[in-house]
Symmetry: C2
Subunit: 197 residues, 2 copies
């Protein structure tokens, strides 16, 4: 009997609908405008239903954050396989982050607690920045084989550069000007890479 399966399929679908609706509202009105009640309204359920899928609004946002980081990391892994040269890899990674922030700014905001988005727990964030098993860390390590401990420092600075540039650009630049900033960003990235080689 496929009843259980159908139920589970439905559950998964509703769960995804909740996440997607949250992102949709955030894209339209900002994260300040996202409320459990609005989400419930749009997916045509009552508010309590959402609590059958997520323990709290905070956990819901954290899930969006995790999905975002997963997507980014998958792209990094893909890049690592496609290109051999660590310099090229890093340039591609930088481009990948940029594209992500342009295509899914609202997810980027949740990932980095920006623009009114706020996830209480920092665990995922810290974990994701951690050097352990991080493809970007390995790329930098390969670029500076003799740097020893400095690799971790460079890795940290890499995040500061990319994150700082994108979040300042996202916050201060009007939408039409963002495209122009891409060149400046990529130039900065390239200069950074050259400076550590």
């Amino acid at each position: 009997m496929g009843i259980v399966e159908r139920r589970e399929r439905l559950k998964k679908q509703v769960r995804n609908d909740i996440l997607q609706t949250a992102r949709d509202i955030a894209r339209e009105d900002g994260w300040q405008g996202v409320s459990i009640r609005k989400i419930a309204d749009i997916i045509e359920y009552s508010p309590p239903i959402i609590y059958e899928y997520f323990d709290s609004k905070d956990k819901l946002l954290e899930t969006i954050r995790v999905v975002g980081f997963d997507e980014l990391r998958a792209d990094f892994d893909r890049i690592k396989e496609i290109y051999r040269d660590p310099e090229k890899q890093l340039v591609e990674v930088a481009q990948s982050i940029w594209n992500f922030s342009v295509e899914q700014p609202e997810v980027f905001q949740v990932m980095f607690n920006q623009e009114g988005a706020f996830v209480h727990s920092k665990k995922v964030y810290q974990q994701e920045m951690d050097i352990t098993d991080n493809p970007v860390w390995e790329m930098i390590a390969r670029l500076r084989p003799k740097a020893g401990e400095k690799v971790s420092m460079t890795y940290y600075e890499w995040w500061c550069l990319t994150y700082g540039f994108i979040s300042i650009t996202m916050t201060t630049q009007p939408k039409h000007a963002i495209a122009k900033m891409e060149t400046i960003y990529m130039e900065g990235v390239r200069r950074f890479i050259r400076s550590i080689m």
Copy 2:
């Protein structure tokens, strides 16, 4: 008669109390925990009173942001007067930002819409980052007299570096580890300055 004066003195005091109470709560419980009702409770007035001093919660936060930026800029101006060498000036400015973020993290959060703090209007933020009359811009221009348009680019990157580093550090590092990051930050700043000279 000094009645009017006394009243105005009182008004100024209450206004400052409101701002300071907001910052106090934020420091203790984060900006998510700051509410008009809590502020009113602490200053021992009813909530509507706060609206005689600020049009909205958003405007209240914006005022805190403005005061923060003013304080920072005053320090930059002071540095510009004390030191002649633009390289030294920039190092001191970087140190000044760092100190500010350590001493008043909650204000820093409002200034840059971090960690749940959120001011709708971006006007102040954009204005403050603008190159016009900005002491940091002039320092960089003096450091790179022949750079032409690249000065503005470098200025932008300067903000990305300092802001990116501090906000990532503030968010990911536990309190006890932040002191250790200062050296790494200042090293990064120095390397940046040298790389543009």
